[in-house]
């Protein structure tokens, strides 16, 4: 993975010193909250319901074991012993004190990590394919380009105060695991007919209040020009994006308003000033960065391991785990293994400090000391020998990583929701827990097969509900939480926005609603058809009819006040702490 040079280290330490000063000026009252808020957000620091939350960047999802151990250290020293991995491959700590935030950043810097621009109206952490570099369907490893763009976007002087947040995502594979169609700019690395490497560029995708699928602005931008081209897009957006209405400020609204042809024309015009100029990426710089990502330590191994084949036949649990949590690898004899962070009872994407340390140890033992965070909020060990799979499975079981549910109903994508987030209308973690309890039957889950269930606690759509095969959105109706259900969404290859099935439901009705949707699917599906394919084939009608045919009962257990996650005890038992001073 990428290693900092002396300039990276210097710039990061200057950033921490700057932020430490800003925190001091806030604590002394010199900086007002309005002035400080923008600064702390660009250092990843939110003020949530209970405490300050810090979102730490995991650039394009890549982590070293040493970095993971520092997350564990932060969880223990500054937080309540756990962290939350997000859909943008980052990690969040929920219970920080403002005074300690600069110390957290300093500890992160010892392992070349940071929280720069993980929030605020600037260019955010660039996401990528969690199987980059190892996927069988990969054409070109996108990570060197992601790193080059990370550096370009870091502390870009012109783009720190954009109309709204700005997200890049990049993939180099046939199947889009990076959801490039729902990012402000989506990049697909590919080769043209002449064999030259470049990018297909999409622009104006995004979810939130107005979900829009990105549109192609260029079918091929040669790799050397990616900085100048990206800069041209962001410059046009900075100048012309709307600033009068927060909800209409994303680039997707601008592109929609003036049309892709006009937007393309403006970008091309802008690009003429900088194209072929000094910001053109050099071969030397690409080579320097790319060298960090090349792995030459693969052994020559047989494509299958005999012990794995035997256990797979004899042990159903191992069979299930192999089927769901182990992915093919481009190198013979290797596999990529997902560690599920969707353990029954825990918030989707949460990991305890002990789990983080365990994952780091497993990475050292089985996967060249590296891990990845997935947009599904799980972890990946990307370079595991087939012959290590049994030992890895045993270790994963010990640490609660072996739930064989990757891609299944309980592999829920979920935002922090009303349990933590000041923006939320409704709880989503607690709802995920309710769904998990209702469908806690691995045979049933395996039978239902691949399905994306996405939960968002508000229209900001951090849980990407629009692109869930089943998407659930928390809405506020006269101060009470309700949930709108949509089906038929899809996050990539191709992305599609789901359709709302009808009037919304209460918290305690949702598990039954999901159950009814699945009932229709099971009745209607052809042999191996996935839920989403059935929806695409038969449309919404049969689902709507069945869900609303009779009153949907509420699950009475979910109505009990002690069901609420925050009050329920572990792991949130420490007393309420107000960060507001």
């Amino acid at each position: 993975m990428y290693r900092y040079d002396k300039f990276d280290h210097q710039i990061m330490s200057e950033r921490i010193a700057q932020f430490r000063g800003q925190v001091q000026r806030r604590l002394s009252g010199e900086l007002k909250e309005d002035e400080f808020r923008v600064l702390r957000l660009q250092n990843g620091l939110y003020l949530q319901i209970h405490a300050y939350m810090m979102r730490i960047a995991v650039p394009y999802g890549m982590l070293s074991a040493a970095q993971m151990r520092v997350f564990a250290h932060i969880a223990r020293k500054y937080d309540r012993g756990y962290g939350h991995f997000t859909t943008r491959q980052n990690i969040q700590f929920n219970w920080l004190k403002l005074q300690e935030a600069p110390d957290v950043l300093a500890d992160l810097a010892t392992v070349e990590m940071h929280a720069n621009q993980t929030s605020g109206n600037c260019i955010r952490n660039i996401t990528s394919d969690e199987l980059a570099g190892v996927a069988q369907d990969e054409l070109i490893d996108p990570r060197p380009y992601a790193e080059i763009l990370r550096q370009w976007s870091t502390f870009h002087p012109e783009f720190a105060y954009l109309p709204r947040k700005f997200k890049f995502s990049i993939t180099g594979a046939a199947q889009d695991r990076a959801a490039i169609e729902i990012n402000d700019v989506g990049l697909q690395v590919l080769k043209n007919a002449q064999g030259e490497v470049g990018f297909r560029v999409l622009v104006g995708g995004g979810l939130g209040r107005t979900p829009i699928i990105g549109t192609e602005i260029s079918s091929f931008v040669p790799w050397q020009h990616i900085i100048t081209y990206a800069e041209s897009i962001v410059r046009v957006y900075n100048e012309y994006g709307r600033r009068d209405n927060l909800y209409k400020a994303r680039i997707k609204i601008l592109v929609k308003a003036i049309g892709i042809e006009e937007f393309r024309r403006q970008v091309e015009e802008e690009w003429q000033f900088s194209k072929d100029g000094p910001s053109t990426v050099t071969q030397a710089e690409l080579d320097r960065v790319a060298a960090c990502f090349s792995v030459s330590d693969y052994e020559a191994l047989p494509s299958e391991d005999a012990a794995v084949a035997t256990l797979q036949r004899d042990n159903k649990a191992f069979f299930n785990w192999l089927k769901r949590n182990v992915k093919p690898h481009k190198v013979s004899g290797y596999a990529a293994v997902e560690l599920s962070l969707k353990q029954g009872g825990a918030a989707p994407g949460d990991a305890s400090a002990e789990q983080m340390d365990a994952a780091a140890d497993m990475a050292d033992k089985f996967s060249f000391g590296e891990l990845r965070v997935t947009h599904m909020q799980n972890l990946v060990l990307a370079d595991v020998k087939q012959s290590d799979l049994i030992a890895l499975w045993e270790a994963a079981k010990v640490h609660g990583f072996a739930t064989p549910n990757i891609g299944l109903l309980t592999d829920i994508i979920c935002c922090p929701g009303g349990d933590f987030c000041t923006l939320a209308n409704a709880r989503s973690i607690t709802l995920a827990k309710a769904v998990d309890e209702r469908f806690d039957n691995i045979d049933y889950l395996q039978d239902i097969g691949e399905i994306d269930l996405n939960l968002s606690g508000c229209v900001n759509a951090c849980g990407h509900h629009h692109v869930g095969h089943i998407g659930i959105l928390g809405v506020d109706k006269s101060g009470k939480e309700w949930y709108q259900v949509s089906i038929g969404g899809s996050k990539g290859s191709p992305a599609k926005i789901g359709k709302i099935i009808g009037r919304s439901f209460s918290f305690a009705q949702i598990p039954e609603v999901i159950s009814r949707l699945l009932h229709v699917y099971v009745e209607q599906r052809f042999a191996a058809e996935r839920f989403i394919d059935t929806v695409r084939r038969i449309g919404l009608d049969a689902f709507v009819e069945y869900v609303y045919a009779t009153p949907v009962p509420e699950d009475e257990k979910l109505l009990l006040p002690d069901y609420d996650l925050i009050q329920a005890g572990t792991p949130y038992e420490t007393p309420y702490y107000s960060p507001r001073f």
């Binding site: 923008v38 720190a160 910001s279 320097r288």
Partner: protein, 170 residues
Amino acid sequence: MLIKDKVIITDDWTVLRLKEGEAADSVLVPSGKVIVPLPVWNCQHETLQARPELGVWLASFERVEDLQDDVHRFPVIAVDFHKFSDGRGYTLAYRLRKQLGYHGELRAMGDILQDQLFYLKRVGFDTFTVRADKDANAALAGFEDFSQGYQASADIDSPLFRRETRGEAA
């Protein structure tokens, strides 16, 4: 109070702002060194162009293209940040410097705070009027926040990977 070259100096320019009821075509532009709003320049162009010591200021929603032919006649162009979080002024400055080749004084004024000075300087501003309720002396520290930037901008013509030999460990 004006910051120039990281020093506080006396500002000998007056900034004209339209008051309630005043119109760009009729407002009286006082004598001396005055920075006028762009609409005043546009409306009173014919009388004002005889004055060599005249500056113009742009609001964040105005465009440098509106100045195109006149840009080089102004000894000072200012950009008014009505609030610091409106980042259009950064692109205005960049365009003035890099695309229109403006070499005169480029001033950031309005809601200008210590924490934005480093970026403002990078995109081409060279004078700054810090918001009146803030200590301009203390704000000077903002210029020293970083020793390097990754990107090319108006201040440095090439990105870090062309300026320096990358890859050496700390």
